[in-house]
Amino acid sequence: MTSRFEPFLGLSAELTAFSHFDLLGTGLAERYLATLDKVVGGEITDALLAAFTALPPPEGEARIQAVRTTILGNELLGDVARALIKLWYSGTWFELSSAWTERFGPRPANITFVVSPDAYIEGLLWKAIGAHPAGAKGPGFGSWASPPKIPAFSGSRFQNLT
């Protein structure tokens, strides 16, 4: 693991409200970091990770503010961070807005694509709604008789972020 992996995982946990264990449990964390590098390039990825590392200590109001202003509200990093959230939840990289590419320049790999078949299967959205991806990870005959299992989110402190 590189020195970039830990901050990437920390950033992802904070943006998705899933725990490190859940994120690593998808088996996709390294591939998603590589996806960022491939689509927006190492420089912007590093800038995003640096912005995360520079945040005030966790659990404080100041940190929530800082996540808003220095990451999600940042013109360069905001769209990238939102695309990263969507990537974790759906396994799909969604093409960055035309406003972003006009301002910061087009990126050849910046098109909407599914990272891999297992990225679709391991999308956090399925876990978040207590369902399973259509056509995969079947829950077994008769399981629909039981209520869905929705995880308790570790990041509920960020509910005011949006």
Binding site: F21, G27, G138, G140
Partner: protein, 371 residues
Amino acid sequence: MYSYSIKTLDELKEFLYRAMQLEHATIPPYLTALYSIKPGVNQDATQVLRVIVVEEMLHLTIAANILNAIGGTPDLVRPDFVASYPAALPDGETDFKVSIQAFGREALATFLKIERPAQRPEHLVGKGLIYRKTPADITALASHPRHEDLHFYSIGEFYSTIAEGIKYLEAEAHGADTTIFTGDSSRQITSEYYYSGGGELFPVTDLKSALEAIELIIEQGEGDGGGIYDDDDHELAHYYRFEELVKGRYYQKGDQPGHPTGPQLQVDWEGAYPIKENLKVGDIFEGSELHEAAIAFNKRYGDFLQLLTRAYNGQPSLLLEAVPMMFEFRNMILELIRNPLPKHPGKNGSPTYEIPGSIKQPVTRQAEVNA
């Protein structure tokens, strides 16, 4: 009959309990190896392991049916039911150890040993059981209840002893105008509750069905008397399915054991997560999410064994509830296996199968008592 044969009904019940314990003991190693395979690779191996683990579950249920047929009480929550890994299994004159480990050459070598057809060589025929060389603190599977210091030559021999015991006791009962098959037939698990489960489940109600049940277990595992297919010639025994992976080639009809000539198959020996072998909860950094998840899995697995125990004791319809639980295990195991093990660089987590409330008591071996 040799002095190790089964002579009482209670002894037969204990043997069948141990048969269930043995069949279950293969499930954690196979299941863990199956889920350690990385996505997108080793589709042949995944298929082989999946089929085999399902058949082991069938064998567990068949053993429960036989035990129920003679009025026994299947108990999967007895403290020593779940093996502590590595556990010892008989293979010829020595034991070998079965471990919880990732899919790979080493795991396959162990799996081949588990399923190996083992007939005694001529010089050992009629020589009785073999002295155990494995230390007393290692769980010894398929052992003789009255002779913990000895082991059978093979799993096949263990089951033959059970079959002989059933025949002997039933003949004895017949002499007194009765039968050993006095169990409540509503406790039998049939295909109605257990569909697509790796083979047909039939009720065990008499000598004939009991011997057929034992035959099915042995044939699916080791093959029929050294043949690669079962007696209907359509199903390859476990041993030869594993061998296909090692040799990189499928068997086809007419092949000789050890020489598959069918289509080639691909195995990516590096295509598995590097889980730490025989991980215990105590090895996982306390306070880590992995630690919590490993405990949560063990608890859920304990719930599963309780559910099976109830299903095997007169509530067969509960088996339908066990199905979603097994899918839940898959998700839990995948997460454990994909997470790095804190403070063990390069190693990943794994389910530990340490079931709460079933801490193993040290076994006092006959040899130690005599010493």
